[in-house]
Symmetry: C2
Subunit: 200 residues, 2 copies
Amino acid sequence: MKFSPLLTELIEALRCLPGVGPKSAQRMAFHLLERNRRGGAVLADALQQALDKVGHCQRCRTYTEQDVCDICASPKRQASGVLCVVESPADIVAVEQSGQFHGRYFVLMGHLSPLDGIGPADIGLDQLQRAFSAGDLKEVILATNPTVEGEATAHYIADMANSCGLHASRIAHGVPVGGELESIDGTTLAHSFAGRKRVE
Amino acid sequence: MKFSPLLTELIEALRCLPGVGPKSAQRMAFHLLERNRRGGAVLADALQQALDKVGHCQRCRTYTEQDVCDICASPKRQASGVLCVVESPADIVAVEQSGQFHGRYFVLMGHLSPLDGIGPADIGLDQLQRAFSAGDLKEVILATNPTVEGEATAHYIADMANSCGLHASRIAHGVPVGGELESIDGTTLAHSFAGRKRVE
């Protein structure tokens, strides 16, 4: 004997969420049915709405329900001439929260990963090439993750930018502010020493 | 700047799931939008369907989309005269998998917890009292969880059963089969010694 058909279906469907196994899915289904039917209804509706309407921005590829996202639609951002390349829409939020960047973004939605069959076209580099060729950019800031794949992707895009006569820069690696030196890994510390700045 | 309105709504809505914080909700939303739109659509539909149609069995209170669940609808189960009281519908599945029980169930959907304001009426004990008084039962097996609240609930129901002239029994506590003695806690071992059986 298993649960009733609709409950079994719901538990199965919840398993499509990342990190949710059979036990968690069961707990979620029970929680929604027993304690939070309203929350469940809101979730079903929000999910349907998002799936129906949220697509990618035509310019920067971030998630948006408009043709062009708010940042790309801003004339001030467009006029800045600086483009920041990130891996995920969440990275845009992180950079925006720093308050230090006022240019445009381009979201790769991943990184180059030949072993997984993810090549330049899969992360929108053909579209990025067209943006580079358009002639309204001065600088490209490469803010991909500091992982092996992120670095490789940054190098690849830097080559593309340089061949278009654009200045490409990589965000600095080093010791995070507020971190403790003894808990920082060796590679980061090596980067932090190599990128040292003179104190004047 | 945050995500687009619909995406923000979806991330907020996902947080109604137990154990899902802001970062997990974001990861889930991105996963559904980027890699599994079909899975997301199935989930939205399954959730809507379950919320619309899944209710409680009129007799045993488990989840079902019918008036009476399959087990309660079975004449053989009804005729058995044995009722097993469990805390959650998941417990029914566990007991059924053991293959040792062929009677009916009653699901409390929780346990007595005066500190949280959960009294007898909240776990359906008035309905259970009516089942006890109906006169077709011979034995009540108390299979609530082996926790303080589960034990207290079992004792309460045992008193109810005894006052109706019904035989109430509690499932055995002891060392789980396949477990190692050194990793079993003291209380369980004490139960296991107290409930020892003569080897003949």
